[in-house]
Amino acid sequence: MSEATAPKAIEGTLGFIDERLGSTTFFKRNVKKVFPDHWSFMLGEIALYSFIILLLTGTFLTLWFKPSMTEVVYDGSYTKLNGVKMSEAYASTLDISFDVRGGLLMRQIHHWAAVLFMASIMAHMLRVFFTGAYRKPRELNWLIGLGMFTLGMLEGLFGYSLPDDLLSGTGLRITQGVTEAIPLVGTYIYMFLFGGEFPGDDIVPRLFTLHILLIPGVILGMVTAHMMIMWHQKHTAMPVKNQTEQQVYGYPFYPVFMAKTGAYFLFTFGVLALMGAFVQINPIWLFGPYDPGAISAGSQPDWYMGVMEGALRIMPNWEISAWGHTLSLNVLIPATVPLGIIFGGAGAWPFIEAWVTGDKRQHHVNTRPRNAPVRTATGMAAVAFYGLLWVAGANDVIADKFHVSMFALTWFFRVTVFVGPFLAFVITKRICLGLQRKDANVIGHGVESGIIVMSPDGKYSERHEPAREQERAVILSKENTRPEAPARDANGIPAPDTKGPLGHLRARLNRAWTFDDIPVEEHEEHGEVESGKEPKQLSH
């Protein structure tokens, strides 16, 4: 019974493949690979599966979409636009929506998948950041992820521009403004990009090629690299019982994880299909064809460009004119500075952190956000900065729906975009330290048992019991900071890393990173208290 062999048909096929590819050894090695289990580890998978659905629905759409700016007179099923002059791109998108069977559903699934693709990447990146999963050896995958998000923004912007409706054109108009705002070469780049004056006939076919060929190709390559590196390095794990830096604790890829991730693909597809069927997105027939002379209230980009829109909306109108040139700071700053800070900062962060903490070790177990207060607080400051600019991008909708003054709202965002991140940093750090104190308490004194005992001299006290083993494992995953080596040792020799202004800076940052750390450890002297035999008054 133990040596059961597969039927000949299977044996033969497997043998054929194995003799040529050596696949049996590969599968033997990889099929049992262990994956840790946590819901937040699935966020990246939403992006992966949305991307697959984007490729499939996108291919469907290319079968009917005509990337052409040739002017045509519409005559189709949406009678409210009959006789209106429009580009072939817009007319063919109307045809996909109203005359191609299943076309509107495919368009809507494609658009929702794009929205979810970007949203899940962002959620995934936040998870990676706040758990410290980007640390050595995973810095490269962190950078690849940032690259994919940036490319996703471009890809989304181009896709949004293709149907040539009024919203698309408005987005392209802003793209043109941003290109022109680049000092010295702006007008040249604008002319190269659009092939002449805005909007011209070239932009839609050009964006189409980039949207369906180049950028998805690059993203696909990056996805592959991302997955292979992840497979090679193994997934990080949450600090739970049985999990160590040396060994992953979880379920094998086959059969458990494969079933879970397969089911999750179906979930993603299901949610996208439901949204595509029941929630309308980008109703281009209501927006009308693009006309440079028309504009609408509520012209916003898709959510992932909202942060730039918001920056543009709250930016004061600064311009410098000198020597016959205009420097449009009013466009240049919102287009480059906020995202430069966010992406530049995120890209540099793993290396800055390693430099400041002097931590060059490999990490495979995640940190709880509370146990790295400076990192968590910096992350929340970035979230506040991004979030405020993002919300500012919808200022007119907020002003309209909540009946507040638009000017007041603009000034609110102008102030809070600077004050908000600072407040977020301070508040988050305090919360983290408070949680550390709570953890130290749980380990040091145990948890309240709800049992009141009276001592012989009449004192009442509550018995504390040690926390559950699983809980203790999670709490004790905190790595208490060790004091840095003193800047000068007993003989007055400075430590190697503290020389020069950079060394001083590093030493100061290191102190800021560690000085208020609250050690979470078991105290020997409280052993009796925890066992509950000799309860004594605990001061809290």
Binding site: W39, A119, A123, V256, F267, M275, V279, Q280, S296
Partner: protein, 303 residues
């Protein structure tokens, strides 16, 4: 009787009967139809009485801000409190009063649309099943219509201004929808949004939504004609009456059109879409992820 019988056999007799019947129906209809003003117009004494009623309504509801002679009022610093109503015309009165914006409750950046005061409320419910209630409601509605007409006539009597458009000019089924959409996007959408969902303006002002069915074609026409509050005037040379009717047709037909793609999310563009993507999309998938990872296989075969 003999002569009558003979006429009956003539070839034109059939036509004569139809003509006579039509004339009779016309006369009877004219006599019964409540909308007919002819009788009133013929009676100058009645017209004067109506005008007096209009003036009285004006003194009661409007004069405290607009002045006893509708000349407008200013505060101590010379800043206008309420504009002069001389020459604003019947269309302006009809728009402001029938949308409930006037008489205003309190001065602000912009007067909101609200239910008109009972004296002018022409859109009250009349379809009661109890005859006496129904009769009373109909009577009140007729009175409100007369009050509004008298007030319009009084303001129009002060100086010439734009008149209320006839029903044929605002019929939303008669305009060119495609042209209307184009004109709407060029002239109106920058404040009122793509499909007239409304939008924010500076200084606490706003462009009201045009998507509710309580915004009547006549009111849309009057708004274009008179440019109430923050809205510019689109007179008949800027937008011809035909253009105005096209815009009305576009708005009314579009707001009555169902959303082919499912829930329209308020038809306000990508802001609500982003919100739905995060809340519904990511929300559902996070729940699914929690559910999937919470499932533990009972036993794993040791190899």
């Amino acid at each position: 009787m003999k002569r009558f019988t003979a006429w009956r056999r003539r070839p034109w007799a059939g036509y004569a009967v139809v003509l006579a019947a039509l004339a009779a129906i016309g006369v009877i209809y004219a006599g019964f139809s409540p909308q007919t003003d002819r009788a009133e117009a013929e009676n100058t004494a009645q017209a004067a009485q109506d005008l007096a009623n209009g003036k009285q309504l004006f003194n009661k509801n409007c004069a405290s801000c607009h002045g006893l002679n509708a000349e407008g009022t200013k505060d101590a610093k010379g800043k206008p409190i309420a504009p002069s109503l001389i020459g604003v015309g019947a269309a302006s009165v009809d728009f402001q009063v029938s949308t409930g914006r006037m008489p205003a409750m309190n001065p602000g950046a912009q007067m909101p649309r609200k239910e008109p005061i009972p004296e002018f409320n022409t859109s009250i419910k009349t379809d009661y099943s109890e005859p006496e209630k129904r009769e009373e409601a109909e009577k009140q509605k007729a009175l409100a219509e007369k009050n509004l007409a008298d007030l319009r006539a009084y303001i129009a009597s002060l100086a010439i201004g734009p008149a209320v458009p006839p029903a044929s000019a605002v019929d939303p089924t008669k305009g060119d929808v495609a042209l209307g959409g184009k004109l709407f996007r060029t002239n109106c959408a920058q404040c009122h949004n793509f499909t007239g969902q409304g939008g924010a303006l500076t200084g606490g002002k706003y462009a009201p939504p045009l998507s509710g069915s309580d915004v009547t074609p006549t009111q849309i026409y009057e708004a274009m004609l008179t440019g109430p509050q923050a809205m510019p005037v689109f007179n008949d040379t800027t937008l011809t009456p035909k253009d105005k009717q096209a815009i009305i047709s576009y708005l009314v037909q579009t707001r009555e059109e169902p959303n082919p793609g499912g829930n329209g999310l308020g038809r306000i563009g990508p802001v609500s879409e982003g919100l739905a993507g995060w809340l519904i999309g990511i929300g559902l998938l996070v729940l699914a992820a929690m559910w999937i990872t919470a499932k533990k296989p009972k036993k794993l075969k040791k190899s």
